[in-house]
Amino acid sequence: MFRIPHMAFLFLFGRKPEDSGCGGKGSACSTPRSESEANWSIGDDEKRRSRTAREYYTFSKEKRYPLEELVPLAELEEGQEGKVVIAFGDRKLICRLCDLGLIPETQIRVLKRGLMEGPIILEVRSCEIAIGREIASKVLVKPL
């Protein structure tokens, strides 16, 4: 079951580049994502969370942490610490996060949460990084 084709883009840290067809159509990779993004932008929190959770649950049974222990980074409080477990998104986003040191098993601390749907300032490897709320909700962390 683990080798179903579109596991590629849902699997831990984004889709694979050589991924021949995400379910047939060439653009299928981005379609479900932009759909979910559209959902997010209207602020459908419940749906968003359950969707992310479902993806995680379906495709990473052998992961180290039980799903109940994970929360989106966006939901950590100021001052709370956590460990990065998984991030969803396209290759570009995942690589950007890697470049800035946000890889699995990295300890982070939330320094500041912006007003309303504003961004979050994190401390990662003793540097400060601001990331938008919607990216932060694609990163699942284990609170410490």
């Binding site: 694979k16 961004p119 300032i121 400060e128």
Partner: protein, 656 residues
Amino acid sequence: MGAGKDDVEEKRIEIALVGNPNVGKSTLFNQLTGLNQSVGNWPGKTVEVAKGTLVFKGLRIDVVDLPGIYSLSAFSEEEVVARDYILSGRPDILVNVVDAMALERNLYLSMQLMEMGVRLVLALNFVEDAKAKGIEIDAGSLSAGLGVPVIAVNAISGSGIAELVELAISHVSAKPPKRPAYGKEVEVYISEISGAIRTTDFGIPAGISPEWLAIKLIEGDPAVLDRFPKLAHLDSKIKAVKNKLEMVHGEEPAVVIASERYSAIHKIVRSSSVMHTSPITTRSERIEAILTHRFFGYLILLLVLGGMFFSIFAVGGMLSEIFDEAFRLLNDHVIGALVVLGVAQPISDILINGILFGVTAALSIVISYIFIFYLALSILEDTGYLPRAAFLLDSLMHKLGLHGKAFIPMLLGYGCSVPACVSCRIMETWKERVILGALVVMIPCSARSVIILGVAAQYLGFAAAMGIYVLDIFVVLFIGRLLFKAMPGESVGLIMQMPRIRIFKPWLVLKKTWFKTKDFIYIGLPLIVAGSVLIEALRVTGLIDQVILAFSPFTYGLLGMPVAVGISIAFGLLRKEMALVMLATYTNTLDFSSFMSPVQMVVFTIFMVLYVPCIATIAALYREYRAKWTLLIVALNLSVATVVAFGARIILSLFL
């Protein structure tokens, strides 16, 4: 710089500076070469590659300042520039500038440089700041752990720089350092693929490390295959390796490699630095906390921006009055002199109203408004305040379908649309760049501010001028929202490093301000003078009336403005700051209230603020967006300006 070239010609080396953004790379570059280059404090600032020359102990050294990058994955333009340059094999040695306070993240790039098999020395910057924060780094053991020479420098004070150059020169013909080993199993896969690359002819130049190619192929870097298409023969082998990696680690190969790099770095950093257990809260950290505070942060933002614009307009207004006064005095003297000399009326008109008036107008705008705007902006940049402002304004920018970084081009837009258009590059996706490009040209630049101040504020009061600024912001918000809904494509969220707050160095700020202002003096001044002469000549010959008459159905018919403002519209296309000057020249009066009613003034100001950007901006748009989108943006601008100005005419005439 050409002097003394002959005797050092044969001994010539090229050094390139690489590093993350905000590590003091450009400051070091300035220290090394003395050549001036803009030093920015917001991520992704230096897009162009700067070059300079240094003569050190009879050796001619070319120093190249590469753009600040976090990695060599070739996703952004900066990374492509840096990577292509390094791959070209031109640099004899790389100087990797590293921020001691963020050592792990900075070494991630160093690790990738070592993978490429290039000669490298590390310049450890901000060692003192790190010490103050409780991080002590032993350069010797860091060097031993990495296998790369390391030297502590202070880019701002200049200490350690001579030693750095010496070290770099002494390693020019050394063997490239060997990168620290990754996990055993990853190493096996790397050598499996690099072995295959080595044994088969894929048309790869000798200077490029097969190991590096192997790592890139495992990572799935598309740019490598584009460059060496023959490597596609290894496809099945790479796929097998990737599958194995994925099975064992449960993560995508690119993430596995990134983790390997970070764990190697972590080991080295742990053994070569001491981090005191109780992190000391430094003064700058306390300031940072306040600047992004959910209440005080916005208060400070309001004060900073308010203060900035107030000082620009207060100081600028004062200065431009001085200029006007000086012009009037000079005018009288010159007229007197010309009369004495017996110069014919048309020629003296061209001399006075054309050249003299043009020069004064240009100087008064450049020095009063543009210089002060850039001075304020440079201070904000160098202190590291801009990313904080971007953080605070992220949710507002989301309403436009953009994110916090978009604030920076918008702020630039209040100074001049040209750098604002160019800086739209910092947005990640095409959609965001187009939206932002269309919006920044509608923000009143300093030249258009002159129109707002010179007409609305002068004759209708401060409130009217502010009203027009606010109206403009609403129009921008509305159009942004509209474009966001209407345009296809996606927008990526904000990912931005927050540089530390620093005290700015006055000489650096002044230098930077001068470089930004210089362009206006070189390009703007001749254009304004030429324009003034042209219009004066047209006026003297009487041709001008035809031009303006051609505009009259639009200016008078649709917008109900005096026919004379056609001159502003025509020459505003050339340069917006000429609009008022031209109108004054044409009507031969500086008192605009003598031929415009208050309603007409408002309509005029609104139209001038929103309509098609000046020719320099259109050129910048063309460079960034090509013909089709430039045309669309310009058309959008013109229609928005017409609709809003017409709306203002109808609404205002109902009340007044």
